[in-house]
Each structure stands twice: as C-alpha cells, then as structure tokens.
C-alpha cells in the first residue's frame, strides 16, 4: 500500500477549527435562535406539561412508525415466483417503495409504476395501465404481475378489473396471463393492510382461476403465511423447523430469496418465491398457519370462508413460550411429533437465558413496531424479566391494545406497561423523557428519540437502515430467541462497560 493520507470525512472533518468558526459565523445570516432559547426549549420539551400538550395533539402526526398500504402490497407480490409488483398511479411512490426496501434489505427491488400524470387525473389511468402491462411484460418477462394502487388512482376511482380486462382485449397481455390486483389506498390502514389485501388477492386469484374450490384432493400439506415479515432469516428458520418435524409444507408468499439473493456475477429480476401452481393447490392443504395476525386478517377470513380450511393465526413467535406454542400448533395441524433435536435446542436456548438473566432482570424497556412484532417482543421480555414500559404502536387497533394489555397483565413484569395505539415517536420521546427507561427496542426511526433520552436502541423490526444484516438472522423460533437475547444482553453489557467507573470495568460479566 502507498502512503497513508490524512483524509477526513463528514464524521471528523467539520470538527476542525476552521469549520467550527464557519458555522459560528453563519449564524448571523440565519438570524439563529440564541443559545439560551435553544437550551430553554430543550428543557421545555422534557416537561410533563409538554407531554400533556403532546398527547393532546389531534391533527399533527410527528415521526410515525408506519408506512402506507402499497409498500406492503409490493412485499406480498415479491413472495411469488416470477412476479413483478406493479403499482398503478403516480410514479414517485414506486421510487419510494423500491428505495425504502433497498435501504433495509440492501438488495435490489424490482417494481414498476404506471406513471400517471395530470392527464391521468383527468381522464383516468386506463391507458397507463394497459401500456404499463405491455411494456413491463416485454422488458421484465414476469410470470405474473401483481397490481396494487397509489392514493392517486384510489381518489380518482380507477376500475382495475375493467382496465385489466381491456388490456387483454387489446392484446397488451395474453388472455391467460395472471394479473391479480388489490385496491391499496394509502389513506386507510398501513403497510400491513396493503400486505393483507394484496396477499388475499393473489391467493384468491390463483386458487380460483382454474377451478372449483369445492373439489379437493385431500393432502397432508400445511400452508404457511408469514405476514409482513422483513426478516429473511425467519423464513429459513421456519423451514428448518418444519423439515425437522417432517412436515410437508407450502409457503404462500416467500419473499426471502428475492430479498436475499447471491452475488455471483449474475442478476435476475426474480429469485425463488412460491410457485404459482402451488397456490392453485393450496386449498387442498390440511390447514394454514399464519405467523402474524394483524397483517393477515383478510387472508385468514378468505381461507376460512373460501378454502374452508382450518387456520391458526399467531403473532410473531418470539421467545420460548411463543415458540413452544408454534410447535404445538404445527403438531396440531399435522399430527407430527416434535423431534428430540428441537427439544434439545430449546434446552440450549433456555440455558443461554439462564446465563444472561441477571443483566436483563428488571430492565425497563420502551418499544415500537408493528402489532404482531410487539406482541412477540412483549412476550419475550416478560419471560426473561424485562419490564416493558412504553409500547407505541402507530398502526395498532383496539384489538391489539386489548391483547397487548391482557398479555402484560399475565406477568408481574408487565404491570407498568402502557400500550399506546395510534401514537407516534414524538409521543414516545415525551414518554422517554418524563418516565425514563433503560433501553429501547425498535427500528431505525426510533434512534432519534432514543438518543435524546440517552438510552441504547436494540434494532428489531422495520425499517432498519443503519445496521447491516440484522434481517438475515432469524428472530423467531428458539434460534431466533437466542439471537434476540444476544442482541439485547450484549447491548446492555456494552452500556455497562461504557458507563463503568474504572474499578467496575470488569473482565468477566
């Protein structure tokens, strides 16, 4: 290597005196607030009075922890073989979905838009949809296109069914080419609603397309639906468990390969995913296991009603007890026994929990995320003696709140827990500053309030932009529990080291 140069990037460059002076000099042109004003306001924002005002907000949403429907629809579409997500409406939305997922997964995310503009607003988007189907099939050669909508198309009331039919009549796509579609207005629900709607639509479309649902070939198979799960590691973990239990399964919606493809000198637009033919057979299965409840409400209803199938819907199986329940559920659906290897695995993870428990016991935590994830996290915390205190769920409904509160009541460690549905991370900030906790669990957006409260953030959930590869490791099952434990306990141990007086800077912990 050649000579080392002293190259400073943004992390250190602007600490130099010349830049500090520059910043100070600039203030006069900014008509900047005085240092005193800023300090006073910092203090004001920490008060109970401010918190009260903050919680009285009715119109302003500040730093919410939710996204909009079509984002979820894109994720659902990515779970199927050769499927191109197609979002009908303005094009900027698709640019946002693709970059949002790319920042989380560090993977390419193919999706197209029908690029509607002002004339589309006036005349409707039929021409855009038809030309979009023609262009995208020519360029990206998908096996299926899954159409969802932006709020623009929803407000002007475009009729997807008629438009797609017209595209077939015009020959833009073949008569038989599968195009399931779902209305995903961003002014209703959140990304988990969009996932649910698109998934329901894909399952209904493919299973009803060629046949009679009442005609069933009995099968021992079990369908698995993960919900809006952004951990590709969860998919492989789940498959491993099912294979250890010798279960014949079909994932309905498996986006793990699309969002975790190899670097080997080639790029394809599509990797893995549920085979379209497998969806057509899915109604024959013995039952369907859903690993999120709140993101699969419509899907569950559809499967019960149309496929006349048993469904078991649970919240994210985080922690020992939830994993125990997951295995029981699989056993219930399939009659398969739980093998020794999983029992041993359970024991090893419980052993790990025993090793770490003194550092976790009584730690107070604040958390945010989607409803199913939060239920999983609360359960895990309670079983190791962590006390959930502030639980903010921007896209949670009343059912979620009741369920979460009931769960908290099952344990003495849940007594302080308060569930805040429809609240955002600016509410969370007030909570953290008025009723402090020891650490936080959530996605990247929580880093701002965690920093203001001077507590560490354990990154779990979505999106995670500022840490790498978290989503590649499972957080469900016994192995996932071990990963979660390792993340949390090591964060706490790091904090102990960072804050330790010299004598307590222990070599062994």
């Amino acid at each position: 290597m050649t000579k080392k140069l002293d190259i400073k990037d943004h992390n250190t460059l602007f600490q130099a005196e010349k830049y500090q002076k520059q910043a100070e000099g600039k203030r006069v042109f900014e008509a900047a607030c005085s240092v005193q004003e800023v300090e006073d306001t910092v203090e004001l924002l920490k008060t109970e009075e401010y918190k009260e005002k903050n919680f009285n907000r009715e119109a302003a949403v500040i730093n919410p922890a939710k996204a909009c429907q079509p984002l979820g629809a894109v994720l659902a579409a990515l779970g199927f073989e050769g499927t191109l997500p197609f979002v009908h409406g303005s094009q900027g939305c698709v640019a946002y979905f693709r970059s949002h997922f790319a920042r989380h997964f560090k993977e390419p995310v193919p999706a197209v838009s029908s690029s509607m503009t002002e004339d589309g607003a006036v005349f409707g988007g039929m021409r855009n949809l038809i030309e979009g189907l023609e262009n995208s099939t020519a360029l990206y050669k998908p096996k299926m296109i899954a159409v969802s909508t932006t709020c623009m198309a929803e407000v002007i009331g475009d009729d997807l069914s008629a438009f797609i039919e017209n595209a077939r009549i015009e020959g833009a796509i073949d008569q038989e080419f599968p195009v399931p579609f779902a209305n995903t207005p961003s002014f209703v629900g959140s990304h988990i609603t969009g996932y649910d709607s698109m998934m329901r639509s894909i399952l209904a479309y493919l299973s009803e397309k060629n046949g009679d649902l009442s005609y069933k070939i009995p099968s021992e198979k079990v369908n698995i639906i993960t919900g809006f799960d952004t951990y590709t590691g969860n998919f492989s973990e789940l498959k491993r468990i099912l294979e250890l239990m010798d279960v014949d399964y079909t994932f309905l919606g498996d986006h793990s390969d699309n969002l975790d493809s190899p670097a080997n000198g080639e790029y394809n637009y599509y990797y893995g995913g549920t085979k379209l033919d497998d969806v057509a057979q899915a109604h024959n299965a013995n039952g369907t296991l859903l690993l999120q409840k709140y993101s699969t409400k419509k899907v569950t209803k559809y499967i019960n009603k149309k496929w006349k199938q048993d469904t078991i819907a649970v919240s994210s199986p985080l922690g020992i007890k939830n994993t125990d329940q997951l295995l029981k559920n699989i056993k219930e659906l399939t009659g398969k026994d739980i093998p020794q290897v999983l029992k041993d695995e359970r024991g090893r993870v419980v052993d790990a929990l025993a090793d770490s428990h003194p550092y976790l016991h009584g730690k107070r935590v604040a958390m945010t995320g989607d409803p199913d994830l939060l239920l999983g996290l609360i359960s895990f915390c309670l079983e190791v003696g962590i006390e959930p205190v502030h639980i903010v769920c921007t896209n949670g409904d009343k059912n979620f709140a009741e369920e979460a509160e009931a769960l908290l009541k099952t344990s003495p460690y849940g007594m302080e827990g308060k569930v805040h549905i429809g609240k955002d991370l600016w509410h969370m900030r007030s909570l953290l500053l008025t009723e402090p906790v020891d650490f936080a669990i959530g996605g990247t957006h929580m880093k701002y309030c965690a920093k203001d409260a001077e507590i560490p953030l354990v990154r779990v959930g979505f999106p995670i932009f500022d840490r790498h590869h978290m989503h590649r490791y499972p957080i469900i099952g016994y192995q996932g529990t071990l990963n979660l434990l390792t993340l949390i306990v090591n964060t706490i141990l790091q904090q102990l080291d960072d804050e330790a007086p010299a004598h307590s800077f222990d070599a062994v912990r």
């Binding site: 094009q91 939305c93 970059s99 690029s115 030309e131 407000v155």
Partner: protein, 477 residues
C-alpha cells in the same frame, strides 16, 4: 475512438431498443445518443428530455413532491415541512437524503423529521383543510422555535379540491410565521423537476425579499443549489470565505428561512445545482439585477477553474486571494492524485444521476484518470444536455430517463469498471460484481465538494474499485 468502435456503440443501442414494444421503442429511441465529434463541437444534442416516462418501464424517476419536499424545501432547517396527505411520502423521505444541518433536532432544526397530516378516508371525503389548520397550530405549539411552515402537498390534496392557499394565508396571519403552501402533488409533471420549479416559485412568492441584511458588503454572495449532502455546502463555503467573499445564504442545505429572505442583497448568486434552482437565480436577476453564474466544485481542476471564474467577478484583491488559496491547497491535491490516480487510471465509469452530477462529476473522475463511457440524467432538461455534451468524449453514450432494463443492459455491454447511480440501482451491481457508488447520497460518505471533499471522493472511488471482495465473486465450484 475509431469509427468501428462508434458503430459498435450504435449497434448496442439498436440491440437495446429491440426488446421494446413498437410504440415504446419509437419513444425511447429519442432518449439515447452516441456522442460524435460534431456534437461536442456544436453542443447540439439530439436526446429528448423532460418528457413523461412510459408506464411499466421501471423508471428511476420520482415525483414533484420528492423535488419540492425532498430537494428544495426539506433542507431549510428552521421550518416545519408538513407532508400533507397520506403517511407514506413523508415516511419514505424521512432522513434519507443526508442534507446535513447544524442545530438541535426537534428544537431549532427540523430536517430529519416526518411531520404529516396522515390522511384518513374521512379527510379524502370531507377535505383536509380543517385538519391542516389544526395541524399548523399544533406544530407551532410543539415547536416554539420553528420560524415557518411549508405545506408539501401529496397527490390527494390536488384531487379533492382543498384550498391550502387559503389555509396558508390564514395561518400566516394567526401564527405570525410564514406558512407556505406548495402545490407539489406527485402527479404533477413528469419527474422531480417540476417539483423543484414549483418550490422555487413558492420561495419567490412567499419569502424572497422579505428580510433585510443588516449591513450589505461588496463581497456578498449566495450559494444556490447546494444541499449540503454529507456537508458539501460547508466544504464549498470554506473556499469562498477563504478567498475573501462573504456567503450570506445557503440554498438550501443547512439553510434557514432568513437566508432565503436576505438573498436579494447578494452581489453574485453562485449556482451549483442549476437544474433545481436556476429558476430563482433567474428571478433574482430579473427582479433585483443580481448576476448569477454556475460553478463546479467537484475535483481540483473544476474547483480551481470555478474559483478563478468566481474571483473574476470581483476586484484584484479577491483574485489574488483565489490564487493564494489555490496554491495553498495544491500540495494536498497533488498528494491525493499521486496516491489514487495510479490505482484508478483508465477505469471506465457509467453514471445515471439526477439533473446535475452526471456532468459536474466528470472532471473529478478525470482528475483521477478515469473515463466516462456513459452518462445521463433522471430529470434533466434540454439545456442540461447541451451543457453536458461538450464535456464528453467521442463515443460516450448519453441517455435520458433510462429504466432499470436500459441501465443494466448498457452496463453489461459497455464493460464498465464503476457504476454511479442511486440506491435503487446499487444492489444490482453487487450481484454482478461491478463496483458501485451511490451518487445521490455519496453512499453515506462525503463531503465530495471542494478540496476537502475531493480527498473523500478519491478515497471512496478507490475503496469501490479496488476492494478485495470483488475477487471472491468467481466461485471455485
């Protein structure tokens, strides 16, 4: 470049277009060009631009909202920017652009925040004006040091007939701070570009000329169109100050509403991102007679050229200062080039960036001995292409609004060593084993502007191209 090589490049473009359905092919054809000697001499460019993207092609473009909230208004740090409409737009653009600002987040700096009216079905049905009004009041209470509010409209607002202008007017009066309505609904125009224009116009209508500069000086200048990505504007400002100029405003990276309001007192407006802010530079020229000039602070050659051109607008003192500053940095720059040029010499670069950097970064690459084989923009206009083509070498492929398919096809055929584009494109290149740098966000690095920024740029290009990880791509199995 030989005639055969140029013919080959034409063939590549023909082959690319073959895959398109007939009507789209006819359209797309006009957006590609192989640059020939005569184009470089005349500056004439046949590439069509600023036209609607075809549906379904996987365009890289965004929307007007992204151009206004994301680019122009968002970086103004002491204002609250309301993403008015459903939750998504503000969520996806929250804290991802890296327009750095000094200040305390949530107290007197509101850049990395997502404030939204989070439209629900009832707002679509009954209209969102009342909610917007309540929101403005709440925001003022929540953020007492906020010095203004901008209302960034999302698609539904323009479709349901809301009157955000009336709300803006009422709230400006009631709250005593400017409340600026911006009609940047995503369906307007064909890309981010119209959003820039709309945002510029609202600065003109609501802020321009509204504040006074206490004491005007002969060397007052404003930086226009630098968004301070990774600190770019700071690394630029330092040079302007070192040559004796006084920078009275930054538009809009680390900017404030006061700076927007005093810029009409500037003696010379210096414009970096022409595409997104030329409108206001021209407006201030017309209204206040302020001259403006473009400059380019990427790479030492262009930075030196620009510093001299800027100094030429002022007296001999400034000109002498410029020479002194250029000389002072020379050794450092030579050292950087001496280290990195041998490692990067002859490497072929392909770019697809927004509306400026596809031409402005060429000099920086060339300072390192690298060659641009293909370049183009998401949302540039005709004048940008004319400015670009004169910077290119014969045989370079130039394109407008290429889709994912186009970019991947060309990068394969042109056998490139480095791709520079955005996050949506990035990870494709990791699969392919082609070094990549994000040229919107500087891949979380930067600054890249000025002399201090060039060091980081050179180092980053070296990291990308010469990383040992690329040799692991070929599996032995």
């Amino acid at each position: 470049m030989s005639t055969k090589e140029i013919t080959d490049r034409h063939k590549i473009l023909e082959e690319l277009l073959e895959v398109y359905p007939e009507r789209t092919k006819k359209f797309k054809k006009k957006h590609f060009q192989v640059v020939e000697e005569e184009n470089i001499e005349s500056g004439k460019c046949s590439v069509k631009s600023n036209i609607k993207s075809r549906p379904g092609v996987m365009t890289i473009r965004g929307c007007a909202y992204a151009g206004s909230k994301g680019v122009v208004w968002g970086p103004i740090k002491d204002m609250i920017h309301i993403s008015h409409g459903p939750v998504g737009c503000g969520q996806y653009s929250w804290g991802t652009r890296r327009n750095y600002a000094n200040g305390t987040l949530g107290v007197n700096n509101f850049t990395a925040m997502q404030v939204t009216s989070d439209f629900q079905e009832r707002d679509i049905v009954f209209g969102g004006d009342k909610k917007l009004e309540a929101l403005c009041k709440e925001v003022k209470e929540m953020f007492p040091l906020a010095k203004g509010i901008s209302i960034q409209s999302e698609c539904p607002v323009g479709l349901i007939g809301d009157d955000i202008e009336a709300v803006g007017k009422r709230m400006t009066k009631e709250l005593g701070i400017p409340v600026v309505p911006v009609r940047c609904e995503g369906f307007r125009g064909v890309s981010q570009s119209l959003g820039h224009h709309i945002a510029n116009d609202t600065i003109r209508d609501h802020v321009m000329g509204t504040r006074e500069l206490e004491e005007a000086g002969p060397y007052d200048v404003a930086i226009i169109g630098d968004y301070n990505i990774g600190g770019d504007a700071w690394a630029s400002r330092i040079l302007l100050e070192e040559i004796g100029l006084r920078v009275i405003a930054q538009w809009s990276g680390d900017g404030s509403i006061n700076e927007l309001g005093i810029t009409h007192k500037s003696k010379l407006n210096l414009i970096h991102c022409y595409r997104s802010m030329n409108y206001m530079a021209k407006t201030m020229e017309k209204e206040y007679g302020i001259p403006w000039m473009e400059y380019n602070f990427f790479g030492p050659s262009k930075t030196i050229e620009s510093l001299r051109a800027i100094a030429a607008h002022f007296d001999e003192t400034i000109q002498a200062n410029a020479e002194r500053v250029i000389a002072a940095y020379k050794a450092e720059m030579d050292e950087v080039i001496e280290k990195y040029r041998p490692r990067l010499e002859g490497k072929k670069v392909m770019l697809i960036i927004g509306g400026l950097r596809a031409r402005h970064t060429i000099g920086a690459y060339e300072d390192l001995g690298m060659e641009i084989v293909a370049t183009g923009y998401e949302f540039a206009h005709k004048d940008d292409y004319e400015k670009t083509i004169v910077e290119l070498k014969e045989g370079t492929v130039l394109y407008d609004d290429p889709g994912a398919f186009d970019v991947e096809f060309l990068s394969d055929k042109l056998d490139i060593d480095l791709m520079g584009a955005g996050v949506k494109e990035k990870y494709v290149y990791h699969k392919l084993g082609i070094p990549f740098r994000q040229m919107h966000s500087w891949d979380y690095s930067g600054p890249y502007h000025g002399f201090d920024g060039f060091k980081v740029f050179a180092q980053d290009m070296d990291i990308a191209i010469n990383s040992p990880i690329w040799s692991l791509m070929d599996s032995p199995f």
